[in-house]
């Protein structure tokens, strides 16, 4: 089997993030030839797609679920859906449709959030929605440069709050899109974003936050 070229970051992400935002880790351009082979049911093409996207999917699932077992199941279910429904994907290469990675990411996000909903973790997030005007524009504290500390702080957040933070900041979704994905309102997304930012700041630099 001829080796496919190394995946490259896509110039056309979906949804389009603002220029100052980093590209999603999903933003990998998949060659049309590879997609064609996968649509024809070629096992090697399936594996190639899996290898390219397993890490972004697993990372997203870990951020949303916060649990390795759960994230593993999200990864498997996502990939099974993608590979068995790849014939349904028609948006690639026509210049206007969703890129393949956006389609795959949507499946991954839906799968992870569906599991989150099924576990009724959202009940813990039924809090007032009036916080979003407080501090969601403030920059992160310097301690956020420590990736390990930031990862530990993220892990301590409630799953819905962490999900909103990740979808908004790392994947570039808007509040409206997050509200649709989570079957909540945009206000919920904004409040969770504000709440999460404040808690992250508190966890990263407790002395500063209390000052």
């Amino acid at each position: 089997m001829p080796a496919e070229p190394t995946p490259s970051p896509s110039p056309g992400p979906l949804p389009a993030p603002s220029p100052e935002r980093p590209l999603s880790s999903f933003a990998i351009d998949v060659p049309e030839t590879l997609l064609t082979r996968a649509r024809n049911g070629e096992g090697a093409a399936f594996e190639q797609i899996y290898r390219w996207f397993e890490r972004p999917v697993f990372t997203l699932a870990m951020r949303i679920a916060g649990d390795r077992d759960e994230a593993t199941e999200v990864l498997q279910e996502t990939m099974l859906k993608v590979l068995t429904r790849i014939g349904d994907f028609r948006g690639h290469g026509d210049g206007s449709g969703t890129p393949f990675w956006g389609w795959l990411r949507q499946i991954a996000v839906n799968e992870a959030l569906m599991r989150l909903r099924s576990q009724r973790r959202h009940e813990h997030a039924a809090e007032p929605n009036d916080e979003h005007l407080a501090d969601d524009r403030l920059p992160p504290p310097p301690a956020a440069a420590d990736a390990a500390a930031l990862g530990r702080a993220l892990a301590q957040l409630p799953a819905p709050t962490r999900s909103v933070l990740w979808l908004y900041h790392a994947e570039g979704y808007t509040h409206e899109e997050i509200a649709t994905l989570m079957q909540r309102t945009p206000s919920f997304s904004k409040s969770q974003l504000a709440r999460g930012s404040r808690r992250l700041r508190l966890l990263l630099e407790p002395e500063q936050a209390h000052a």
Binding site: M1, E20, R21, P22, S25, N40, G41, E42, G43, A44, F46, E47, Y50, R51, E54, R55, P56, V57, F58, T59, M62, R68, D69, E70, A71, T72, E73, L75, Q76, M79, L80, L83, T84, P139, P140, P141, P142, A143, A144, A145, D146, A147, L150, G151, L154, L165, W166, H169, A170, G172, S197, L200
Partner: protein, 312 residues
């Protein structure tokens, strides 16, 4: 803190949360994730009704696990346990098979299947009937060799008398000639076919069972293929692979890829698909042997390369 005003050893502070999140390292997924997905894809394909089997053959898995550490979600452990339980008798049978000089007399009939033309119509319908799957006729006959184009009047081809054991244990010896579809190979198979006829002089049934037998046989081969893939996934470990063994595995993987490419290239006649699935099972069996032998030598503290050249 006294060092609060010192430069941050972690680097420049991120300007915003997206930048901070972008610095987080990606999580590492389980090493055997692809093997599990591939096994589930194969299982799903095997469970698919034959109509789709004709249109799109089962997506084969050629994945390699990159580590032996098996990370299994608690909800999947039962499935993995069932898969391994199904694979263990196969591994035992393979080990016994190497020492058994006698090939089951029913296996050569598969070669005859692979060489005999069959109409496309004979592919799907038999598998739709649960009765043919549930109660295969053990009295289906040995192939008499030559066939007419009129399938309604010709005798049924031979099938294994015991489908359950056949599903787990096709003879490697019968698979090898199928990789070579040359006329010389077919000629070499002719005496075997005669031996089959002598070994199973049972009465003949109408030719309508021919398509049943082929479809049933393909289903059995697909089940074997899934079992072997699971076995390979469980036994593969790149950390113990030597260069020689890696080349052997790679060649077998490449052969699998060629078979899969042929299977998916276009809807094929039933006989050709049967032949390809037999070749696939044979190649997978060889691959399972290579992988398990590597693991065995690694467990014994030996190298596969040494075993290849040792003559004692």
């Amino acid at each position: 803190m006294p060092d609060r005003n010192l430069p941050d050893p972690r680097g420049a502070a991120p300007q915003d949360w997206p930048s901070a999140f972008a610095r987080l390292p990606a999580e590492t997924p389980p090493a055997d994730g692809w093997a599990q997905v591939a096994a589930r894809l194969a299982a799903a394909a095997n469970a698919t009704p034959p109509a789709s089997d004709t249109a799109s053959p089962a997506p084969p898995a050629t994945g390699r696990t990159t580590a032996t550490r098996r990370y299994v979600p608690h909800r999947r452990r039962w499935a993995m346990a069932a898969m391994l339980a199904a694979a263990l008798p196969l591994a035992w049978w393979l080990s016994q098979r190497g020492a058994d000089p006698v090939t089951p007399a029913t296996q050569p009939a598969q070669v005859v299947h692979s060489q005999s033309p069959a109409p496309d119509r004979a592919i799907a319908d038999p598998l739709l009937s649960p009765s043919t799957q549930a109660s295969p006729d053990p009295d289906k006959l040995a192939d008499t060799g030559e066939r007419n184009t009129d399938r309604a009047t010709e005798p049924a081809i031979a099938t294994a008398p015991n489908p359950s054991s056949d599903a787990n244990a096709p003879a490697p010896r019968t698979v090898k000639p199928q990789r070579d579809p040359s006329p010389a190979t077919r000629e070499r198979q002719a005496p075997t076919r005669l031996a089959v006829n002598e070994a199973a002089p049972t009465p003949q049934t109408p030719a309508s069972d021919d398509s049943d037998a082929i479809a049933q046989r393909i289903g059995e081969l697909q089940a074997q293929s899934a079992q072997l893939e699971a076995l390979i996934a469980a036994s593969r470990d790149d950390r113990v692979a030597s260069a020689t063994a890696a080349v052997m595995s790679s060649e077998l993987d490449q052969r699998l890829g060629l078979i899969d490419a042929t299977l998916i290239s276009a809807p094929l006649p039933a006989s050709q698909r049967l032949s390809l699935w037999q070749q696939r099972v044979g190649t997978l069996r060889a691959l399972a042997g290579v992988e398990s032998t590597q693991r065995w030598f690694a467990a014994q503290g030996e190298r596969y390369d040494d075993a290849l050249v040792r003559v004692d």
